[in-house]
Symmetry: C2
Subunit: 566 residues, 2 copies
């Protein structure tokens, strides 16, 4: 067994040197560190250099970083916590400032502008230097405000508190050259339809995502159970479809969310799942919904209540396109999801109107689905948006998807290769690795012995061992945009949002930023990850995110001592 | 399929009659209800009648009930929520007051006095009447302050808010005759050693327990990882054994907790697990601990770190007895747990001192364990305390336990009969039904594929189907004191305490109060339980307890509609 740091501590604790853990998450792709403690000078400040007009959201981000450097108050996770460094800190060199600068152009766009660009053209890379000299200057350089922002996030993670208010880094000098993500899509999906989440819950989630450099918030905002999303021109959808007047995202709320996200380097992908998962629309537009609340629901839907858009009806297709258009054009993202999972054929077979519509048009159901999709996707493309769909649209149906369409793989990690084989881009969200809701028992009411359909629980370790490139050819690799962990909320609510998601959902954030190898060339692995994930979790708690303990605190303070020896 | 209430609502919603759900938890053992809405009169008050001196904790409880009747603001879980009753409420009769009285003696003891009596002699029964007449008087009668307190808890659950501040019951008249628990032990166990929980977290847990009439808080306060419990005369145990100076229960904290519990009808069973699970004592008393932090831990303990009290040493036995005595005599409970689970024999085989002690005394390890137990239990008995042990002490070791000893069954529900066969009283805490921590993945650091040892997750439905009397003879039934759900906290912390426990842990509270049958004579079952558990969960959320959603809100508002039809 490799001797872990805590055992070495028995002999070297007086020197305060226990530097085997680099508590950064996600691990930069390039990292060199020393063993010198450097504290922030009382006059420490953050400056921007060589930019003619600094974007307001970058100035705000700098301000938040300065606040957090003082307010995190995170003590190192070693036996003795911050006190182990007190002696060394008395004579430690001070860091006088951090300077941010952009390479090349003196004109920079806002973080939000950069974060909401096309997924293929975002610039998130940065370099960082933290010297060990007294009175030294740290630097972050990047090609964009978004890169500087990612660098600030790394910078914050380097600092600890000694228990008496001294803020310091303990691994100076730190040099990170050209850190940049392996994949542009590092996401988290939240379902706000099965149960409602307040804007404050979503903001807190975005804060957690920001801490691990996530780039995409996938907002599964409506579903068969409720319609909390205000659509301009269609107020009846929320008036009749939201759980209550207090459980609606107003147009102002939506702008607050996309702006809060964007200024934190996160693009928001809004999804209106179609044509399935739309039962609730029957409360305001029964004319557009087949098999609305049909019984037994098991015959018409994967979960109650049943109800799907009448895809063979031109009126329904146009109605759907109008909804999508009216909301999509208000959103900064270049992407919009039309969903497309779990279509129930029997619902349409039993629906007289759909059968009549099919007969009138001479189309099969699959042909009607294709026409429906051309209508909704055509609308999106007309306003410059790229469509995103669940995997069934690519793999199970006879739908023509344009080349730029992004496909979300969810049913099984085994299905990724079939998507790339069609030349389509994909996002990994496999239920067998990334579903955060699995393993909490059956939620259907009268099944006392049942477990969740995707048992067992997907531990952070399980998620962390996901291989984004498994069974893909070299030519298919560029089609992988990244991945995300997902929270479906049949059994979740604001009360357990943080605890079910964090720090677990950070696993994929590292896989898709760091890639397959650590800076020293070894493959990423749970043994290296665990102490860093502890650190992230404790820092999240300091920031008001209710991330849960991964182990007894005894283990968190003693890296390696709760591993199996055999 | 039985037509659920929400479907009937389609036709009768205008009458506001949807009364199939009696949203009480635990269900009283006797219940008659009507269909009349009764609102609280503006002058509504709660009076105590015929008691010469009303105990202060009963007065305080009444005050809290009055506050909650106004502050709960829980709207009924039906489509339309509180608004469905608005029309009927305008002309509804008003309840003028609630009168509490004690049958027999005019002298009553405090709730805390009654709640901390010997487990076999507590009086929790009560009768309740809520009339449907205008200007009527509701009554709660009982033999003790504790019975009145249980009645108040039921009374609170009868009231809802219509969304405009009108507080009302909707099932008057309500008559409950001689409701009393099927079992006296209805508990919840919290481990505060693997991870620390603040006094406020414990108070909030006691609040939740109180809502479901739980009677026992089992506080597994110390373990091998940390020793947060202040023991008078042994300050070094916490000074060296707590995670930090901020993670200690002071003597004052302990009194706050037992008083907060007692005045809410809850007895606190404190456990100091011995002789295993004591590694942390080596930080202050290495002389008493065998195999302290021995490596590999797998050879010496069920989880890290290894370390057990040197049970063959008379000095260690006396030290242990002193600790137990010094804390136990400060506690109101008549019970104290000496633990006794997961003893590791190899630890003692490898410990030179234990081997020398055994040789000197001529005892086998089992004989030494018996002597050790006689010392600790003798000390408890000398101060009037009943010992509580984990099942291994009764089933796996050659230890003589006195008849009054209470045994906790945890390894398997199958082991209960073996305990009663020995004539010992038991508390059900089987890991296969009642462990709240199962199913969250492996927490040992380097086991990426592992699941928890007690997979899968124990859903509320699973817990609810536990049969306390399975495979017991009629003669053995009186030996069953009740049961409890347990939270071991290797993967829990204050951040998920509420969400992992509630409303799940309420399942056993109903099993052990209501018993096997509902008031109408049918067997208790998850279909009847679900809407009531939803109601409890929503009420907990209103009171600041982060109980999680059991289903989409759509289902919670439509009883039966998320059941399988087939």
């Amino acid at each position: 067994m490799k001797v872990p740091c805590f055992r070495a501590l028995i002999t070297v604790t007086v020197l305060g040197v226990c530097h085997s853990v680099h508590a950064l998450w996600p691990m930069p792709r390039n990292l060199e560190t020393g063993t010198t403690l450097v504290k922030l000078a009382p006059t420490f400040d953050i400056h921007v250099q060589g930019i003619s007009q600094v974007p307001q959201d970058l100035l705000d981000a700098i301000s938040r970083t300065k606040t957090r450097l003082g307010s995190d108050k995170l003590q190192r996770l070693v036996v003795g916590r911050g006190s182990v460094d007190k002696g060394s800190l008395a004579h430690a060199p001070s860091l006088s400032k951090l300077v941010l600068s952009v390479t090349g152009s003196k004109t920079v766009q806002s973080i939000m502008h950069e974060a909401t660009k096309d997924i293929a053209s975002r610039s998130e890379g940065y370099s960082l230097s933290l010297p060990s000299t007294n009175g030294g200057t740290a630097t972050i350089t990047a090609n964009s405000s978004l890169g500087l922002f990612r660098g600030l996030t790394t910078f914050e993670q380097l600092f600890y508190d000694d228990g008496t208010g001294v803020t310091y880094a303990y691994q100076a000098p730190v040099t990170i050259k050209n850190d940049s993500p392996a994949y542009p899509w590092r996401g988290f999906m939240l379902d706000t339809a099965r149960n409602f989440f307040a804007v404050s819950d979503i903001k807190r989630t975005l804060d957690a995502m920001r801490m691990v450099k996530m780039s995409q918030f996938h907002w599964h905002v409506v579903d068969s159970q409720s319609f909390p999303l205000t659509i301009p021109g269609f107020p009846e959808l929320t008036q009749k479809g939201a759980y209550s007047a207090d459980e609606i995202y107003s147009s102002a709320d939506i702008q607050v969310i996309v702006t809060y996200a964007g200024t934190r380097g996160i693009d928001v992908l809004v999804e209106i799942d179609t044509p399935g998962h739309t039962a609730v629309i029957s409360t305001s537009h029964p004319e557009h919904i087949a098999c609305a609340q049909a019984s037994p629901w098991e015959s018409f839907a994967n979960e109650p209540p049943a109800g799907q858009l009448r895809l063979a009806s031109a009126a329904t297709a146009n109605f759907t396109a109008s909804i999508i258009k009216n909301i999509a054009h208000t959103l900064p993202s270049t992407m919009f999801s039309t969903g497309g999972d779990e279509l129930n054929v029997n619902c349409y077979t039993q629906d007289a109107q759909t059968q009549a519509d099919l007969k009138a048009s001479g189309k099969t159901l699959e042909q009607a689905l294709d026409a429906f999709t051309q209508t909704t996707h055509g609308t999106l493309k007309a306003i410059g948006k790229t469509p995103v769909v669940w995997e069934e649209m690519a793999l199970e149906h006879q739908v023509t998807l344009s080349n730029e369409t992004i496909v979300m793989v969810w049913i099984s990690s085994q299905n990724a290769a079939a998507v790339t084989a069609k030349g389509l881009r994909l996002v990994h969200g496999p239920s067998d690795f990334f579903y955060l809701d699995c393993g909490a028992g059956e939620w259907i009411g009268n099944d006392s012995a049942g477990n969740s359909w995707c048992d067992p629980f997907k531990s952070w370790q399980k998620a962390y061992t996901f291989d984004p490139l498994a069974s893909l050819s070299a030519a298919e690799i560029p089609l992988v945009l990244g991945g995300q962990q997902l929270l479906w909320t049949e059994q979740s609510s604001p009360q357990n949002l943080d605890s079910i998601a964090w720090p677990r959902a950070a696993a994929s954030a590292e896989i898709f930023w760091t890639g397959s190898k650590l800076p020293d060339g070894t493959a990423i692995n749970v043994v290296n990850a665990l102490p860093r994930l502890h650190d992230l979790r404790f820092r999240m708690v300091q920031r008001g995110i209710n991330a849960i303990a991964l182990q007894p605190q005894w283990c968190a303070l003693r890296d390696g001592s709760c591993n199996l020896d055999s």
